[in-house]
Symmetry: C2
Subunit: 160 residues, 2 copies
DNA sequence: GTAAAACCTCAAGTACCCTTGAAGTCAAAA
DNA sequence: TTTTGACTTCAAGGGTACTTGAGGTTTTAC
């Protein structure tokens, strides 16, 4: 990349941090538990962004910590990066997101998580049923119909 | 494969199914929504198993439907196949699993799902908090400490 | 000023989870 | 019996999510 995707900024963080310092890749990595290579990868995907020093090194504004943390939580929950991207859709990358920006994103996330949780709860309920019945009678078990959350229309699952 | 991994069986299913018929790959696929290539892949991994006809075609006992369904549900929830393998550890592949076998596996699954659900619920709670506070004060937000489910010991996340 | 640590890019490699295609065989229906 | 569709194996390819390594530059610390 010969073009800097953001304006030049103050050189670099020193040993002791002023309250709203810029962070190097290494610092981001230490504070989020996400490897530098992964941070660069997320940046390539446009999930996060950085400023560059005159020497072309990355400097992250502090609010980027939040994005990275959300990404890594999502990863732990098995949520793909594409979904994360969607959730972040209207949260600005170049400026510190506003209260409203995060509010909106939070609500979006919450809806996604709720769907996931409902899926899990459904599966849990069905497994509880299976513990009781042993599910040797396959016809009755809704687990065999992965496609619908609740509905049912016959005995055999279909769809291809 | 020159060695059959199971005994030879009755030729093949006819158009109309007797109650406890063996199923071809195509039938398994249609009934579970999982592609034949995926079924073969799962078989290579040892997640499922089949008998072979004299002509070397796969025939699945009906109880294999249940395994495949559980696998595909897990996939939808972002649970890796290795976890599925663990959950199935004591469920026999070669014989129809007993009531007790499924009970044990179900309980194991349920525990795994519960952990996942708790993770999601935690994240939901925190996002709810974020909706209220806007989370502009990063220090307070527990999201930044991905490693512990509840505990807290300072301001900055660590671990690498 | 100089050395070490941290950073840079780019290409290739890895792991998981499959799909696609080639070349051939088997099974069920006409 | 013949034809068609479903099946077989094996090798290669593809998407996601990164890691590793080479070769070089920047920053920090002494």
């Amino acid at each position: 990349m010969s073009q800097h995707d953001a304006l030049e900024v103050d050189p670099a963080p020193t040993g002791k941090h002023a309250p709203d310092e810029l962070l190097t890749v290494g610092e981001m990595s230490r504070r989020t538990g996400v490897a530098p290579s992964a941070l660069r990868f997320y940046e390539d995907l446009g999930l996060i962004a950085s400023h560059r020093t005159d020497g072309n090194q990355r400097r992250y504004p502090r609010h980027m910590l939040r994005r990275v943390s959300l990404i890594s939580v999502a990863k732990r929950l098995g949520i793909p990066l594409s979904d994360v991207q969607t959730a972040f859709e209207n949260v600005p990358l170049d400026t510190t997101p506003s209260h409203a920006d995060w509010q909106q994103a939070s609500r979006r996330w919450k809806r996604q998580l709720e769907l996931r949780r409902l899926g899990i709860e459904q599966l849990e309920r069905e497994l509880t049923g299976c513990i009781g019945c042993g599910c040797l009678s396959m016809k009755a078990c809704r687990l065999l119909n992965p496609d619908d959350e609740l509905g049912e229309h016959g005995a055999g699952p279909q769809r291809l």
